[in-house]
Symmetry: C2
Subunit: 162 residues, 2 copies
DNA sequence: GATCGGATGTTATAGTATCACATCCGATCA
DNA sequence: TGATCGGATGTGATACTATAACATCCGATC
C-alpha cells in the first residue's frame, strides 16, 4: 500500500517490528556515513532502544535500560547520545511529553509534526508540507526566519475515541 | 491599523504596556465571571505577573516575584495558579521553553501558535485558522480527535535575523 | 610514541514539577 | 449562631528532567 505522503498511520500492533527497527538502524548508518558523523556503539544502542518502542521514551527510561547492560551510565550518557541523534535528525524530542522518539524520515528535515493519543500514548508522525508552507508564509510576513518547527497535537486516536 | 486576523505583531517596545496589562486583566475578570470561575487574588496576581513581561516567564521566576510580596510562596502556589489560568485559557505554556505567557485571545480556544525568537526571546502569537483546519483534516483522516494543538516555531525575528 | 580532539565517565547540582497532608475560609443551611 | 462542606492555599518533602565541570579514555595523525 502506498503512503499518502502527507501523514503516516499509527503503528500497527502486528507490523514486523524487528525489520522496522533494523531498517531504521540501517538508515542511520548510511546517513551518518554520508555526513562523516560518528555513530558510536553507545549512540547506536541508544537509537536502537528508542526504536524498540514505537512510543515516546523518556531519557531516564533509556538510562535505566542502559544501566542494565553497561556498568556505567549516568544522565549525561544518555542526554549526550540523544543530543547527537537529535542534531542528526534521527530522533525527535516531543516537548509536551519530555520524551523522545525515532524519526521515520531522517533524510528530510523538520518533519516534526505529531499526533499524540492521550488515551493509549500512541504517536503518529505527520509530514505535511502544506503545514510547513503555511507557517513559512505567516512567518515571512513578519520578517521571521524559521529555524525549526514543533507541532504536537494532543487528542484521541481512532481506538481510544470511542 | 487593523489586525490581519491571522497573525499578530511582535510586541512593540513603546506600546502602552500599562493599559495592555490592564486590558488583559479586564478580559480575565469578565471571562471568569461569565463562567462562574473564581479569579482569586493569588490567581489574579500571577496572571498580572505573567502579563507584566511580554516574554515567556518561568514558573520559578514567578515564584521569586511572589516571594517578594507574600511571605509564603512555594512551587505548588504558582503551579496551581498556572494550572487554573491554563485551564481557563488565560495563559499558555510554551513547551519548548518550559515557560508561560498570557494569551492574547482568551475568548477563543486553541490559539496556541507561537513564533519564538532564538535571538532576543521575543514571542509572537499567531492565530491562523487555516493551520488549525489543515491539522484537523489530517487528523480526521486517521480518525484522530483533536483535543489541543501545540505549534511552536523557533527562528529569528526581523531584528535578529540581520 | 607524542599529541590532539572528540567521546565517554563521574560527581555534583541546577531546574522543573508534583504529592500528600494540613489549614483556612467563604457559602450554605440546620 | 454555629455546623459542615468543598475549594483554595499553606507546607514540607520528594520525584522528575537536564546540565555543568572536570577527569579519563581512545583512536587518528604525524
Amino acid at each position: 500500500m502506498a503512503r499518502r505522503g502527507v501523514i503516516q498511520d499509527f503503528v500497527d500492533e502486528k507490523h514486523d517490528h524487528a525489520s522496522c527497527v533494523e531498517d531504521a538502524m540501517q538508515r542511520a548508518e548510511v546517513l551518518c556515513g554520508e555526513r562523516g558523523e560518528r555513530l558510536t556503539p553507545l549512540r547506536r544502542r541508544v537509537l536502537e532502544l528508542v526504536w524498540d518502542n514505537h512510543q515516546p521514551v523518556k531519557a531516564y527510561e533509556l538510562l535505566a535500560m542502559l544501566a542494565g547492560e553497561r556498568k556505567r551510565a549516568a544522565p549525561p550518557t544518555v542526554y549526550r547520545a540523544l543530543d547527537f541523534l537529535r542534531d542528526a535528525g534521527l530522533v525527535h524530542k516531543i516537548e509536551s511529553l519530555n520524551a523522545f522518539i525515532g524519526c521515520a524520515k531522517p533524510d528530510r528535515r523538520h518533519c516534526a509534526q505529531f499526533l499524540l493519543c492521550i488515551g493509549c500514548g500512541a504517536v503518529a508522525e505527520m509530514d505535511d508540507p502544506t503545514l510547513t508552507g503555511k507557517i513559512a508564509t505567516n512567518a515571512k510576513r513578519l520578517g521571521f526566519r524559521v529555524h525549526q518547527e514543533t507541532i504536537e497535537v494532543e487528542g484521541y486516536c481512532g481506538s481510544c475515541a470511542g
